[in-house]
Symmetry: C2
Subunit: 178 residues, 2 copies
């Protein structure tokens, strides 16, 4: 496997961070990579709010069942989705979230995604962040330097992923519904 | 910018391909990378159907307004979403789609996503693919060797992306709704 493929396969969620600060310029560089992510009809239905204010991070960390890690991270990047009710928007937010996670990984940083829910909590997050209407803070990401080494090769980590044979089927001519 | 960040920022959609065949082993290697993608509660709500049958690809290419490129690609990878009605599922499918696009890019291949819609077309794609219930073919990806060079640096391509200043805001204490 090439180095690039190994890099892509080695991304893991990181929920514990050192106190080492992350410069704003490094976050901007990561988001500058992420803005090249593709989206349906190039709508780019995302905006990003960078939060390094501990009090705000702690309030956000209580707005989703698995969002607790937001309180302990040097940086929280809130992903804002266009409030257009489109399924495509969720899909495209997933694409840009993956780019951000990988760009942080490339920069030696760890990250972990959190979903803010239900709707009441999304509305509360909007108030906490002072957002304008039209953008929903449905996802947020912790970013920081990993507290422990994440350098193990993927095959050495038991992360409970399904094997390839359980995920992939090949279309055989016999399966065609002609 | 590091080589890894440049790699991530250089991904572009490729809709035109050479006739050079893509070995099944190479597709499997790309999907073997993609299966390490994170998902909410590690549900891995995705499956993949690899299609190299031109007749099937042509039928799929008519099941979405912008899906025409599926007919001309050496390989179509259909992304199957768990039919659970969860917003998280669309988001997670976007994450894995981005990993697949980047892994193909790392392997020297180009790719382009297509959305299959509306629901009638998704149902028709299920029939064409002979899918079991529970999995929806809402997205498909063309994969192949690019017909033209995609080696330009990102800054040299006018892809209509918003500038960083239009995408990112920083949380200032004054914006807090305390």
């Amino acid at each position: 496997m090439t180095l690039l493929l190994e890099f892509l396969a080695s991304l893991r969620s990181v929920r514990h961070f050192t106190d080492r600060p992350v410069p704003r310029e490094q976050i901007d560089q990561i988001l500058d990579v992420a803005r090249w992510t593709g989206s349906a009809r190039n709508r780019q239905p995302w905006r990003f709010r960078v939060v390094m204010d501990k009090a705000v991070q702690q309030r956000l960390s209580r707005l989703g069942q698995y969002a607790g890690h937001l309180a302990g991270a040097p940086v929280t990047v809130v992903l804002l989705s266009a409030d257009d009710g489109r399924t495509d928007t969720s899909f495209d937010l997933g694409r840009v979230a993956q780019t951000i996670s990988l760009a942080a990984h490339a920069a030696g940083l760890g990250s972990c995604l959190a979903t803010l829910y239900p709707d009441d909590n999304v509305a509360e997050a909007s108030r906490v962040l002072g957002l304008e209407p039209g953008w929903l803070p449905q996802h947020a990401m912790s970013v920081g330097y990993p507290a422990t080494s994440q350098q193990l090769p993927p095959t050495a980590i038991s992360a409970g992923r399904l094997p390839l044979t359980a995920l992939v089927t090949h279309q055989e001519p016999a399966a065609r519904a002609d």
